[in-house]
Symmetry: C2
Subunit: 207 residues, 2 copies
């Protein structure tokens, strides 16, 4: 892997039709609503959904260290759709014959070097149901750390540049708000919602 | 508004190209990565983004009643992209000249009949950054209820059928898991992440 030497930059954006696209395509859904009236809706879909019937898995993770506060590992990477760096939990598409659990542990290992234990897997969830058919599951993975401090080796694909950041859970919400104020940096809505739910519970003891 | 008489159903799905689409379109992004190597990425984008620079707002809401536990109002509606009913917080696109706060209170009133007070607005977040440029903000709205129990009147657009459900926050996570087991019912990933973060804090007092 060559060392990064510049901030990625968009050079050109061109219209794309379905006959030339490889990963996603656009469709018109013709449907009857609750009264029987005919209606249409526009949807973007992934072409890559495998036998699991689920497009992607996110790896919600908790790092437990013998002496340090419980933390979570985030990944920062350049995302061309936003022309920005995103702050997310590790995530990836589920390969054709994989289960979500297998994909979660594989992606965690590739993107972060960590090995963990899946403690729960969410139901299949709608990623952005007004606009896409994309769906995902979030696997919660617990990683037990030893005393040593160093981050393990990543095994990234050619062209992948992923920065890892470890954040104590008690600081997660504020850190995501702070990241959002940095130039060309956008936090994932799903990760932010998890952090906001956690923060809500910390601030409102009645729940 | 005519009364609903059937479960909505998809009659036909047809390919859609950009020249015939009204709401979303497909583009190819040509960019240079960190090493200067040319790469491409496929993205679906909304055509409707207004002056706020943000596509949509979700209304995270807390209902405070003098005697009942703190609750949240969810909306269930048929979503053609998934051919399923989704369970979400109220949400909607931000109109051209609206602020996210204005859009949040307008959508809450339209979809649920409630009037509330915006207590916080999130940074701009990436809805599904591997596949779309879509972004959103989540506004947290507090609704103070009186003693009366009845749900207020909705003001829905023609063709909108939205069912409202009030769920105590302490039961939210389990209720979303239960909804996911119902036929043709999918929970929104963002709402589920908020509930899972809340639940994580409730179960792990060390955060």
């Amino acid at each position: 892997m060559s060392a990064p030497t510049q901030t990625p930059r968009v050079t050109r954006v061109t219209p794309l039709n379905n006959d030339a696209s490889k990963w996603i395509h656009l469709e018109q859904i013709h449907y009857e609503d609750q009264t029987g009236a005919p209606r249409v809706w526009e949807v973007a879909s992934r072409r890559t959904r495998g036998s699991a019937g689920v497009d992607a898995v996110a790896i919600g993770n908790v790092l437990l260290h013998p002496r340090k506060p419980a933390s979570t590992l985030l990944v920062l990477q350049y995302r061309p759709p936003l022309d920005a760096y995103t702050v997310e939990w590790p995530a990836g598409l589920i390969d054709a014959a994989e289960t979500p659990e297998q994909a979660a542990l594989r992606e965690l290992k590739e993107e972060t070097g960590y090995e963990g234990r899946v403690v729960s897997v969410s139901p299949t969830l709608a990623s952005d149901p007004g606009m896409t058919s994309a769906n995902m599951q979030v696997a919660m993975v617990e990683v037990k750390l030893g005393e040593e401090e160093e981050l393990p080796e990543q095994s990234l694909d050619e062209g992948e540049y992923i920065q890892r950041v470890v954040v104590p859970l008690s600081e997660l919400y504020e850190r995501l708000v702070a990241y959002s104020k940095e130039e060309k940096t956008v936090v994932s809505a799903k990760l932010f919602h998890w952090a906001a739910g956690l923060q809500f519970a910390r601030e409102n003891k009645y729940v």
